[in-house]
């Protein structure tokens, strides 16, 4: 495979709060190749949004990127090295804040935020905001930028863009505002767009329309996407490859088909099972048992062991590393679960534990074990 557009290696972002250090992103690695839509999936609190703001180096205080490496088109967005005294310091080739702002944000990597109602500035016209971003990121004059803005508004499906250009955000519906946000991202002609749950706040029909539109535009412009979502049906709809996050870690990554049909991690299975399908009734839905623990004090061993239906005693103690599952060297399907490390760790000989999901000692062992196959 070719050199990836974006490569994230062992990224760690932490929040230093009064109550302790929150390890919001705890050593994730993934790549985005050109023209690809990569999913980043997980429940809220899994660290998806922190991961995406880390890529743009826009983590707000008290958060801070503390380790790992982010490379984009050969440039180092983030990277540390040890100085003489064993202290970590930014590498020389790491982009400065100024370079990030002028060369990367908007121009190379654009972002679409989750909340279309709050993301547009209420006191400026929609067109004015769009035009400003185009001017900054494409070095166009005011008139040219305005023309571009109107074109892109038309492209994302805003009717009568010339007149709507001068309207204010509150005059747009939620779906229309989300289209404007998408237009902003596209209009800057970046190589990578990060879409942070862009359809979560919208109703299902609007969501469908927008997903269709993004797919078309993605093909047309050949832009890469990181698509953040908690919704597996959106993943199925739009993504080429998927990273599943749980409590700051990526626990499984795979091509979208592999993930759905050859699921390796119990958490991914649980996510898939919690997704409503037309051939199931509500009774058959299996919501994930228990709440995700706090990233401030992550559980020992496998972080998912407490809600996991397949957890054994060993899962409490051993922290699983991502392992190659598909057998080929490219690493197209990895999962971090000790049940696939049977011989090294002793998963098979370890007794099942009493978890929230198994509901008791006897319930889980054979039944749930079989289900995951």
């Amino acid at each position: 495979m070719s050199e990836p557009l974006l490569s994230v290696r062992d990224l760690k972002t932490q929040f230093f709060t009064e109550d302790g250090t929150v390890r919001a992103v705890d050593g994730i690695s993934f790549d985005v190749h050109e023209g690809e839509i990569v999913g980043l999936v997980g429940e809220s609190g899994a660290g998806k949004s922190v991961a995406t703001s880390s890529i743009l180096r826009l983590v707000d205080s008290p958060g801070e990127i503390v380790g790992g490496e982010i490379k984009f088109k050969g440039e180092t967005i983030f990277g540390l090295e040890e100085d003489g005294g064993g202290e970590l310091r930014p590498r020389d080739e790491m982009l400065t804040e100024e370079e990030m702002r002028k060369r990367i944000r908007g121009r190379e990597i654009a972002i679409i935020f989750q909340d279309p109602m709050e993301s547009l500035n209420p006191v400026f016209t929609v067109g004015g905001q769009l035009r400003e971003f185009i001017e900054i990121n494409r070095d166009l004059g005011t008139d040219e930028a305005k023309g571009e803005a109107i074109d892109i508004l038309r492209e994302v499906g805003i009717p009568a863009p010339e007149s709507r250009y001068d309207e204010y955000p509150h005059q747009f519906s939620g779906g229309m505002r989300q289209r404007v946000l998408i237009a902003m991202a596209l209009a800057c002609q970046p190589d990578l767009i990060i879409a942070d749950e862009p359809t979560t706040a919208l109703d299902v029909t609007v969501e469908g329309e927008i997903l269709e539109m993004v797919k078309d535009l993605q093909e047309k412009y050949d832009t890469s996407f990181i698509w953040v979502t908690h919704d597996m049906s959106v993943v199925a709809e739009i993504c080429d490859r998927v990273n599943v996050m749980y409590l700051g870690e990526i626990i499984e990554q795979a091509e979208v088909d592999d993930l759905f049909y050859d699921t390796k991690h119990p958490y991914t299975s649980a996510l898939l099972d919690s997704m409503p399908r037309p051939d199931e009734t509500v009774d058959e839905l299996r919501p994930i048992k228990g709440v995700m623990p706090e990233a401030i004090d992550p559980p020992s061993g496998c972080r998912f062991h407490s809600p996991c239906p397949e957890a054994r005693e060993v899962c409490r103690e051993v922290h699983p590393e991502p392992r190659e599952m598909s057998g080929d060297a490219e690493g197209t399907h990895t999962a971090a679960c000790v049940k696939h490390d049977a011989f090294d760790i002793g998963y098979d000989t370890s007794p099942p534990i009493d978890t929230e999901a198994t509901g008791g000692f006897s319930a889980g062992f054979t039944e749930t074990g079989g289900e995951a196959e």
């Binding site: 826009l58 944000r105 908007g106 709050e118 500035n121 400026f124």
Partner: protein
């Protein structure tokens, strides 16, 4: 067009409030103990003289008749006669109101010009030394009585340093011949500024502190807004974000506070005029009360009310002009 209609509608809506002000004022003034005629004519006036005066000021008629007479008088701009000054109340007010308005305007100008940068810097450098200083200054500002600030300013800047005069005010439109130390219009204006400086700070400090506080919290909110995150993610320079993206949204609550501050400032004007011996509306109402000149008491009280109502309408209109979400039509 729609802004004009909105303005007219706001004024129309204010009419019941204005009538309410007149009503409250009228009945309060009628509660005033003591007989104004007695004050006028001394303790042992001749009976027919009293009757004549009573008839002249309409005091012989029943209260409800006087109320409606007064109300219709107000509607036509007739506020009655001041017994103490022996001149129409309206005339006295028109003489004094510009003084108070000048004082108020300069105090608000001072407050806004200092408070907005302070608040913005404070928000931008939250929990840094600059923020702490600005917060302590504004805390002291909202906790200090304006008349005491006036006294301290006089002691320090008029008596000890001798930089500014301790009392009086020169109106900018005064005749240069009447103004000591001024030969030309420019000289008069310089005298005005010279005299206005201390009262302006005395009256404006509370407003400054209040605006700083709201500006800070409003900017803190605004700087955490999603639209600011968006602008950052699109490479907008931080200075532009502060000056434009965050700032404009943050001014809306500030305008509201300025409107509400008018009430405090009008009260403060009474105190400031007393401290600096400025002959404005504040001194007028105190003179009226001390002399039980009840027509003048009513007139000044309701003009204070009217000025506040108009001020609030002006801030409302400014607000609706700056916030596109406010519709001019019916809600």
């Amino acid at each position: 067009m729609s802004l004009l209609r909105y303005t007219l509608r706001r004024f129309a809506q204010a009419i019941p409030v204005l009538i309410g002000i007149v009503t409250i004022t009228f009945f309060l003034a009628n509660q005033i103990p003591g007989d104004p005629v007695e004050i006028m004519l001394g303790p042992t006036p001749a009976q027919e003289q009293v009757e004549a005066i009573r008839a002249q000021y309409g005091l012989d008629r029943p209260i409800h008749v006087r109320y409606f007479t007064y109300l219709s008088g107000v509607a036509t701009g007739d506020l009655g006669l001041s017994i103490y000054y022996d001149r129409p109340v309206l005339e006295m007010i028109l003489l004094r109101l510009p003084v108070t308005l000048l004082l108020m305007l300069s105090a608000f100008a001072f407050a806004i010009v200092t408070a907005i940068p302070l608040g913005v810097i404070s928000a931008k450098r939250r929990n840094e030394p600059a923020d702490h200083v600005s917060r302590i200054v504004s805390l002291i500002g909202v906790s200090t009585p304006s008349f005491w600030i006036g006294l301290v300013l006089i002691i320090v800047f008029a008596f000890y340093l001798g930089w500014f005069p301790a009392r009086g005010l020169v109106l900018p439109w005064a005749d240069p011949a009447d103004v000591r130390g001024a030969a030309t219009r420019i000289g008069v204006l310089r005298q005005t500024a010279h005299h206005l400086f201390l009262p302006m700070i005395g009256l404006g400090t509370l407003q400054m502190a209040q605006i700083t506080r709201i500006e800070r919290s409003s900017m803190v909110d605004s700087l955490q807004g999603e639209y600011v995150k968006l602008a950052r993610a699109y490479g907008v320079p931080e200075s532009t974000i502060v000056r434009k993206h965050a700032f404009q949204v943050a001014q809306l609550p500030v305008i509201t506070i300025i409107g509400l501050g008018l009430s405090t400032a009008l009260g403060g004007a009474v105190l400031t005029e007393t401290v600096f011996e400025i002959q404005g509306m504040g001194r007028l109402i105190i003179t009226a009360i001390n002399n039980q000149d009840y027509q003048l008491i009513m007139g000044t009280t309701l003009v204070f009310g009217f000025v506040y109502v108009i001020g609030v309408i002006v801030t409302d209109i400014t607000y609706s002009y700056l916030d596109p979400r406010v519709t001019y039509g019916d809600e």
